[in-house]
């Protein structure tokens, strides 16, 4: 678990420019979204929040 989380949060962005900055801010309401998971099943933020808090980890993919 810890190794997997570390692998995900430690993506390298050396030499890259930020072309679009995030538009959300601390304290604001999290924008709704629904995305497919690894099996193609749609996961909606609202459904996940119905079960409790949610932690989103944005990573640069598997390559």
């Amino acid at each position: 678990m810890r190794l997997a989380m570390l692998a995900l949060v430690s993506g390298c962005v050396t030499g890259l420019r930020v072309t679009t900055a995030a538009s959300v801010a601390d304290g604001s309401q999290a924008p709704a979204f629904a995305l497919p998971d690894q099996n193609g099943h749609t996961v909606a933020l609202a459904d996940e929040l119905a079960h409790g808090p949610v932690v989103l980890v944005f990573y640069r993919g598997y390559w």
Partner: protein, 236 residues
């Protein structure tokens, strides 16, 4: 507490990555970066800026971290600390692949033996089936049906359990009080008290060892010890 990891990977690639890394949480595909752009940002190579966002159960963003350079990354320890600080959780609850005590309902089957006395004392077997629901981390409540072949073939009771968590919620010391009615042959009110140890042996199974005493208005008093198995269900 749910953990969702988001990248531009296709579901097929995420499935492979999930298997290789033995990841237990879902990997979501944000192919056009629509979500990543809003929450984390986009970089010049058309990929997501790595980052972490913590959202409380009301849907409010309570913590954000976005990478700005190679070495600007949040450590796992810092992330867990941020989760604990902003959501009031405790590390093991977050890292545990199971679920917190407040999220566990249980179906318990207990069986054992003991003695009953009503004029004379004799040995007997006991068994019970209970459904228990958490009120909070320290209290469980639910119905229990008890079987004791000699003097109380069928008791229906309501049970309240006070539990003291130990070993990061993988175990608990429990004190239980039961009140109900001995319905078979209409034998009247009954009450019981128990003390025991409870251990989660996996995220979905637990075992418990109990000792206690029971009372039936129709004239018997008993003492018993039981060993039980419980199936744990996530309810939140």
């Amino acid at each position: 507490m749910r953990l969702l990891a988001i990248s531009a990977d296709e579901p097929h690639d995420s499935r492979l990555f999930k298997m290789m890394m033995r990841i237990w949480f879902p990997l979501l595909s944000d192919g056009d970066l629509a979500v990543s752009r809003v929450y984390a940002g986009e970089t010049s190579d058309v990929n997501a800026l790595p980052g972490v966002t913590i959202i409380d159960r009301s849907g409010r963003i309570v913590f954000r971290q976005v990478a700005s350079a190679k070495d600007d990354r949040i450590s796992t320890a810092d992330l867990l600390a941020a989760i604990d600080r902003t959501l009031g959780t405790h590390g093991p609850d977050v890292t545990n692949r199971g679920f917190a005590a407040i999220e566990r309902a249980q179906i318990r089957l207990d069986a054992g033996g003991g003695i009953v006395t009503s004029g004379h004392t004799s040995g007997t077997g006991v068994a019970s089936l209970a459904g228990l629901f958490p009120i909070d981390r320290y209290l469980l409540v639910g119905p229990r049906v008890g079987f004791e072949p000699r003097d109380a073939p069928l008791d229906a009771e309501l049970e309240l359990i006070a539990r003291l968590p130990i070993w990061h919620d993988a175990g608990a010391i429990e004190l239980a009080a039961d009140g109900g009615y001995s319905i078979f042959d209409d034998r009247g009110p009954t009450a019981a008290a128990r003390a025991g140890l409870w251990f989660a042996v996996s995220p979905t199974w637990s075992v418990q060892l109990d000792g206690g005493a029971s009372w039936h208005e129709h004239g018997t008093v008993g003492a018993f010890a039981t060993l039980g198995l419980a199936r744990l269900f996530r309810i939140h």
